[in-house]
């Protein structure tokens, strides 16, 4: 059941998928948090010797994020957060 150690392209692909999924959140706070969290987590484990545990964790978090993005979109607030106005 244990996956072989993930390759570099796989890791980058997971990173990209997590960032893409984070973009889909309708809530500004959660969106920014997920982006920050994925970036921080990947940087933290950058020099890890065995990335498979972190990789598996990342994959399960991706599934969670996808589901949550869908659920949040059902109840998206009509008013935008103030941080999203006036770039």
């Amino acid at each position: 059941m244990a996956a072989a150690s993930p390759s570099r392209p796989e890791i980058l692909s997971l990173f990209r998928s997590l960032l893409r999924t984070s973009r889909q959140f309708s809530d500004y706070n959660i969106r920014e948090y997920s982006k920050r969290r994925t970036i921080d987590a990947f940087r933290l484990n950058k020099h890890a010797t065995d990335p498979s545990a972190a990789f598996a964790d990342g994959k399960s978090q991706l599934e969670v994020a996808k589901r949550q993005a869908l659920v949040y979109s059902l109840y998206a607030p009509k008013v935008k957060s103030i941080m999203e106005l006036n770039h």
């Binding site: 960032l19 893409r20 973009r23 970036i39």
Partner: protein, 123 residues
């Protein structure tokens, strides 16, 4: 408000047919040309400026080193994670969806500018 929204949507769907009516001088419905991508492409200089802005705004980058030909990993000292971040930021700026295969090839400002300039959906 919902009814005017409906009317706007319906008039949108009717645009292809009403194009011919407009030629006959009939002004039954206003023809809003759906030319969000029909205009000529983004100006190359605009693309360059916007790409450089996005790259400069990235926290890990020294803005003074950013030129249109700079290489992310060789010149700016970024790693592959940072490169992915920058490509994502460019996707947001230009409202594109860059597939993974293409995104992996973009590792310098020059390539990014080329790709975005040649992409038909950039805006």
């Amino acid at each position: 408000m919902a009814s005017s929204l409906r009317a706007a949507i319906i008039s949108h769907f009717r645009v292809p047919a009403s194009q011919t009516l407009a030629l006959n001088g009939s002004k039954l419905w206003t023809v809003r040309s759906m030319s969000s991508h029909g205009d000529d492409h983004l100006d190359k200089n605009q693309v360059i400026d916007r790409v450089l802005e996005v790259v400069k705004c990235h926290p890990k980058i020294d803005p003074s080193k950013v030129t249109p030909e700079v290489h992310f990993q060789k010149d700016l000292g970024l790693d592959s994670l940072d490169t992915v971040e920058i490509v994502m930021a460019l996707e947001e700026e230009f409202k594109l969806e860059i597939p993974d295969k293409e995104a992996d090839k973009i590792d310098s400002c020059g390539l990014a500018i080329e790709y975005i300039y040649n992409h038909p959906m950039s805006s």
